[in-house]
């Protein structure tokens, strides 16, 4: 159990690091996917720990995966649009919304 939690914590840390440091939008998106998987892992783990006969955590994980798929599709579409508009996927150079 501890091992699983340590693993999901590690995944979360990697995802956060990626989101904070990467400049490429696609890498950013992949980092977000990693973050979501860390959360999914926790759902399954805690479900097994407290209510093993119910499958609540598993169902949550499945829903989370499908949402991640949607998010990836939308995110990629956005990145495509951003690339067409600005000619780059470097998020450090896209500051169109600066106040």
């Amino acid at each position: 159990m501890t091992l699983v939690l340590v693993f999901s914590g590690l995944l979360f840390a990697i995802g956060t690091y990626g989101v904070l440091t990467r400049r490429n939008a696609i890498t950013l998106l992949i980092s977000v996917e990693i973050l979501m998987n860390a959360a999914n892992l926790n759902f399954v783990a805690f479900s097994r720990l407290w209510e093993p006969e119910l499958m609540t955590g598993q169902v949550f994980a499945l829903v989370g995966i499908s949402i991640a798929a949607c998010e990836a599709a939308v995110g990629l579409a956005l990145i495509l649009a951003i690339f067409r508009r600005f000619g780059t996927t470097d998020v450090g150079r896209i500051d169109f919304l600066r106040g």
Binding site: V19, L20, L28, V91, G92, D95, L97, R98, G99
Partner: protein, 632 residues
């Protein structure tokens, strides 16, 4: 006369006014042949519009009892039922004959006078509108309708005074007239509020009945008549609100004849006579009325003796004569005041129309005694009818003004010897100033300061007829109210006098006539020679400061400018430039600037970079997690 016909009196004129307003509005869009058609029929149509009420008013003389009346519920608000009520009793009949009669003659005169002027159709539309408002005022049988007509008359007179709106003097004269009379109207309005508050009705009969039963209470019993009188002071140009009438001479001269001689300025006198039962309850109010009238009569007469513009002489003369009427009302002899109103309307309208005839012939906008002289040979009808009216004004028997002034003097004789003395002096001055004008303008050597005197010709027939009719009235109108014919006019009006009926005594007749003749003689002695203008200059030099005071109308206008208008303007300026621009705008702009500054500060947080937002989210999440950790 049936009641339904009564409605026709104001509304025929109003209908004509509406048609003419439409015609005036469409005038520029019409083709030339239609425009000629409109121009040709405008005059006859508007004459028809006032001829109908005039004939109906004449029929009204023979109606019995309290006269025809119509009344219909107009609208109700809470406890207030407002009626549309018209009533042609004796007092209203006399006034309606004056209003419609003078209006009819002025309309006729205007056809010639205004021919070819800019805004010809509009002029007649406004004139008809004024006449209908005035008839409504005369016929109203409750305070609400009376006040509405009162304000309509004020508004239309504003339009007519400012008819030459492109002249700055005319535009500001209209404003001055409107605002000055509004000051008095405010008092009238407060009086109406008080009447409704205490008596719960606005119909004349019910108001008088309730007031006589003492339902107004001690304070309001005096205050209400005084407040009503404030309205009359404004409209009838009494002191201290007299300053608007001389300026109102900027309007076309027939307008001056109609509004500023016979009808609107007389409306104040009519109002007091109409609400006289309220005045009777308050002797204190009557005393105020009498003194205001007498002072006005004297002051205006002393101003009139030195004015140079023909119409201004007549304007001050009108103020003075209105003062005579108001004095009579205040002395408790309203029928004498109304009798003087009746006679004065005809001969003063004639004087104004005569002045109009001279102005029309001169081609100038205004004519003063410096401009013209000796016109009697070139304009005989104008000159001799003017003399007739002058004799009537001066109170020479047997002309109209003599009889009505005599009635006023007789009413004052018993109880008010001081007022009688004041009016006798004013009467002497009246004879002097009007014959000063007559000798300077119509007699002596022929002269015209702005060109050849040969340009003066008698006015066209259409303008001559009203002059002749009014000339006849100046001679005959007085007989409507003389004792040896049994006071027919007074019987018709059926007013209750508050004072004992005066009796004309022989010595009073002789004194008044003597003063009138003396005034004329003095004028002849001063101005009857070959060099009248030089005589005037000599008089001016000899009298010095006295003449100055008179010529500048007691400096009333500058005094008002200094004491009332000046401080008011600076207060308005302070509010506009310091308070509004500084304080209020400052506060509003300050808030705007504050928002802008804060925005400029916080916009830095909005970098537009995804990384910064994500960092913010991460840091926020960590803080949130830490807080939750503590709490749980």
């Amino acid at each position: 006369m049936s009641d339904a016909l009564l409605v026709l009196m104001p509304f025929t004129t109003l209908g004509v006014a509406v048609v003419l307003l439409l015609a005036a509005a469409l005038h520029t869009r019409l083709g030339p042949e239609y425009r000629a058609f409109v121009d040709r029929w405008t005059g006859p149509l508007s004459v028809f519009g006032v001829a109908v009420p005039f004939l109906l008013a004449l029929v009204g003389v023979f109606s019995t009892g309290s006269g025809p009346r119509v009344e219909a519920l107009w609208f109700s608000v809470g406890d207030l039922d407002v009626f549309f009520g018209l009533r042609l009793d004796g007092l209203a009949t006399v006034m309606a004959i004056v209003v419609a009669g003078v209006s009819l003659l002025v309309h006729l005169f205007s056809i010639g006078y205004m021919k070819g002027e800019h805004g010809y159709v509009l002029y007649f539309a406004e004139l008809s509108l004024f006449s209908s408002a005035m008839l409504l005022l005369v016929l109203a049988s409750n305070f609400f309708l009376l006040f509405m007509a009162w304000e309509l008359v004020g508004a239309t007179s504003y339009l007519l005074i400012s008819f030459y709106y492109y002249r700055p003097a005319a535009a500001s004269a209209g404003k001055k007239a409107f605002l000055t009379t509004r000051l008095g109207d405010l008092g009238f309005l407060i009086a109406i509020f008080a009447i409704f508050f205490h008596l719960g009705t606005l119909r004349f009969d019910e108001v008088f009945e309730a007031a006589e039963a003492g339902m107004l209470g001690a304070g309001w019993e005096v205050a209400v008549p005084l407040l009503i009188f404030a309205g009359a002071v404004g409209k009838s140009a009494q002191l201290p609100l007299s300053v608007w009438l001389p300026d109102a001479m900027e309007g076309p001269t027939p307008v001056s004849a109609l509004i500023h001689a016979a009808t609107m300025v007389a409306a104040g006198v009519y109002l007091v006579a109409r609400t006289f039962p309220l005045f009777e309850l308050a002797p204190a109010a009557l005393t105020v009325v009498a003194w205001v009238g007498a002072l006005t009569a004297l002051v205006a007469a002393t101003i009139a003796v030195s004015q140079r513009d023909i119409k201004r002489v007549l304007a001050y003369s009108t103020i003075s004569q209105l003062g005579f009427m108001v004095t009579a009302l205040g002395a408790g002899v309203p029928e004498a005041g109304m009798f003087h109103l009746f006679t004065h309307a005809w001969f003063k309208a004639l004087l104004f129309l005569g002045a109009g005839s001279v102005i029309h012939a001169s081609g100038l906008h205004a004519v003063s005694i410096d401009d013209v002289g000796g016109l009697v040979k070139r304009m005989p009808i104008t000159a001799w009818t003017f003399v007739l009216a002058g004799l009537a004004l001066a109170g020479i028997p047997p002309f109209a003004g003599f009889w009505s002034k005599e009635e006023i003097f007789a009413g004052l004789l018993a109880e008010e010897p001081v007022l009688l003395g004041v009016l006798l002096v004013a009467s002497f001055l009246t004879a002097f100033y009007i014959f000063r004008l007559i000798f300077l303008v119509f007699f002596g050597p022929e002269r015209f300061a702005h060109g050849e005197v040969s340009r003066f010709h008698e006015s066209p027939t259409l303008m001559g007829i009203p002059l002749l009719v009014l000339g006849v009235m100046s001679v005959l109108a007085g007989f409507a109210g003389v004792s040896f014919l049994g006071f027919p006019l007074q019987d018709l009006m059926d007013l209750e006098p508050a004072a004992e009926e005066g009796h004309v005594t022989l010595w009073l007749l002789a004194l008044a006539t003597g003063l009138g003749v003396a005034g004329v003689a003095l004028a002849w002695w001063q101005y009857g020679g070959d060099r009248p203008l030089e005589a005037d200059v000599a008089l001016r030099r000899n009298l010095g400061p006295l003449y100055q005071v008179s010529e500048n109308a007691y400096y009333l206008d500058p005094i008002y400018d200094r004491t009332l208008i000046g401080p008011f303007l600076s207060a308005a300026g302070f509010l506009a430039f310091s308070v509004d621009n500084g304080l209020i705008d400052g506060a509003v702009n300050g808030f705007a600037r504050l928002t802008q500054g804060l925005g400029a500060l916080f916009r830095r947080a909005q970098t537009g970079l995804v990384r910064d937002y994500v960092t913010g989210m991460a840091v926020g999440s960590i803080i949130l997690a830490a807080v939750l950790w503590r709490v749980l």
